[in-house]
Amino acid sequence: MSERTGSTGLGTRLLYLLAGLGVVIALWRFANGIGAVSNLNQGYPWGLWIGFDILAGIALAAGGFVVAALVHLFGGERYHPLVRPAIFTAFLGYLLFIAGLLVDIGRPWTFWQMIIYWHHESPMFEVGWCVMMYTTVLFFEFIPAVLEKYRKTGWMQRWMTFAPWIAWLLVVLFAIALVRTAVWVIAIGGVLLLFQILVERGAIRRDPHVPTLLIIAGVLFSTMHQSSLGTVFTTVPHKLHALWYSPILPVLFFTSAVMVGLAMVIVEATLSAQHLRRPPESDLLRGIARGLFWAAAVYFGLRVADLAVRGAASEAFAFTPQSIAFWLEIIIGLIIPLAMLVSEEVVASDRARFWAAFLIVVGLILNRLNVAITGIHAASAPRYVPHWMEVAVSVGIVSAGILVYRGVIHWLPIIEGHGTTSLAAAARTARSAGGTHP
């Protein structure tokens, strides 16, 4: 606990203050309505909370599924030390995002009604279901850290046995709600059932660390969730500016989420290493940075091709607030970091690599804000500019997130060589749990 020296410093006190202010404003909003704390109006029903807390927040949490897939499905075992921090960040990110959602939606205490009133045509229904399903999956992906800390070997074993079936059930339930065609539901459920049966019978290798089906379910829900946030905006061809409106918004949202997921792994690993006063996992982060370059290049290519095919590229050269916002987003978030990451020196330097990844994160946030706010045009209402209290709520959520993150990495075995149990011991526990199961 020697690293905790800074925790009563000025920065920490400021974080507590900001988080507290956010809570107070949230309470004020619940007493007096959303209008009392925001500039949202009848023409601009969505603002900073949707753009930042939700659209950007969910994308920034994508590291969880990207790294989990890389390590547990695609064979990048050497990246194993990055999995737990990424999954924990994703889980925390989703919890924070739900907190933001509770403030933004009008009657949050009725959110559960999505479980009983099914409307499968609605992208928002898909979003809502993805939130519930993936948060549950993330809980199950995160829980081993807690079980390990308290040496609950029996529970770890139960987790290995039951988690895949819970994951399977969630996917099937999701398919029933969203797909609504028996043949497709049976096909989707069948493929995963077959996979699990083959694992149980030894025909497919059983991963001793984690139930593979749980990871697959996480990737499935993430894919649906990231893309469905883009689908949400396909209903507004008449309101969203041509620089952002595209029929392939779901694809763009998914691709950029994969990109920023990788960027967040670099940012977060560098920052937590700094916080813990130790060197970052430089060789692993180098590999991630190379992947980040390609992910950003693919996304950049898609954006350019999409603008060209739709004939919207000329909009970028009209001198409007939208075109300025567009160029800021593209230059800060794609052109500069791509130019940086193409150089092996940047990839190799902890500092330069961090800044390249950081720019990608900033660019992604700008993109989501542009889609949700800058690009939206309502004819009948005054232009929306966030109220300071809206900003304070978002800042409060982020501050609370940093405080919880810092607390938990000291409490639980999240970062290798840190927390009370080492990851090697973690692997042993998981192995013995998995091993005793036939």
Partner: protein, 265 residues
């Protein structure tokens, strides 16, 4: 019941606002405090709101070389394929076969996606309430189900609001334009807008002059959304099979922990 529609004729409207008043009476909406705003003359209130579901817009427009007052009527357009209903995650907004798009308030979670999706910017949100709902014109669906006509239509003293089967209303609109070609702008607002609506407008000036949005697509706005939502089963099945397949293929030779290949760059 055949699909009903309202035909609102700006040429016949005298701007008395009896429709605004009776709408509030039938739907038990509160009065608004008058606020001066930098907009068209005698219009009051300035815009639709959570309490005002229909609004007569006051527009001083040049007609045949001289300035004249032309009154438009804003309210829910009751689209044939309503973007709001398709957007709503809990099905709180619902298109009835008889024409109206209604709101089932007990289902609403307050996400306001309907407001974003609506091409006519109609649904309103109770921003000042701690227990807020969406509100909008219901075409007096309760009156229609009982065999009546919408309250605003019933009260209009000049017959500027007609109500009947949608086909019949379209015929009537064409008829009025043909009978008086110099007195009408030759278009029916709502015939094709957003895929067609159950509220049709006639006017003697272009519709954007009397408060209607004319940049609305002439097809249902959720076409792209439907296409994207349609790929869900393929993406889910494809991803499940692909991920499972990759894992199976990659680990085909690994049976024990010791078989894990040394990590390569």
């Amino acid at each position: 019941m055949a699909t009903k529609a309202m035909l609102i004729d700006a040429v016949r409207c005298i701007g008395c606002r009896a429709c605004q008043v009776t709408c509030k009476m039938w739907n038990a909406r509160k009065a608004e405090k008058t606020e001066f705003f930098s907009g068209p003359g005698y219009q009051n209130p300035g815009d639709l709101s959570a309490e005002t579901w229909t609004l007569i817009t006051y527009n001083e427009v040049q007609v045949n070389g001289r300035f004249d007052w032309v009154f438009g009527k804003r309210q829910c357009m009751h689209c044939n394929t309503p973007a709001c209903a398709s957007a709503c995650p809990v099905g709180a907004l619902k298109k009835l076969e008889s024409g109206p798009v209604i709101y089932q308030k007990n289902r609403c979670i307050g996400c306001r996606y309907c407001m974003l999706a609506c091409p006519f910017e109609i649904p309103r949100f109770e921003y000042s309430s701690p227990n807020p709902y969406i509100t909008k014109c219901t075409m007096c669906a309760d009156r229609i189900e009982a065999g009546g006509v919408p309250a605003c239509c019933k009260v209009c003293p000049t017959g500027a609001i007609a109500f009947g089967d949608r086909d019949e209303m379209i015929r009537e609109a064409h008829h009025r334009i043909n009978q008086n070609p110099s007195g009408y702008y030759h278009s029916i607002y709502g015939l094709e807008e957003a895929g067609g609506t159950c509220v049709l407008h006639l006017s003697n000036v272009p519709f954007d002059k009397i408060g209607h949005r004319t940049d609305v697509p002439l097809h249902a706005v959720n076409e792209n959304t439907e296409r994207a939502m349609g790929t869900i089963p393929i993406v889910m099945l494809g991803a499940a099979a692909l991920l499972g397949g990759i894992y199976k293929f990659r680990t085909r030779t690994i049976r024990h922990e010791s078989d894990v290949p040394p990590t390569e760059e």
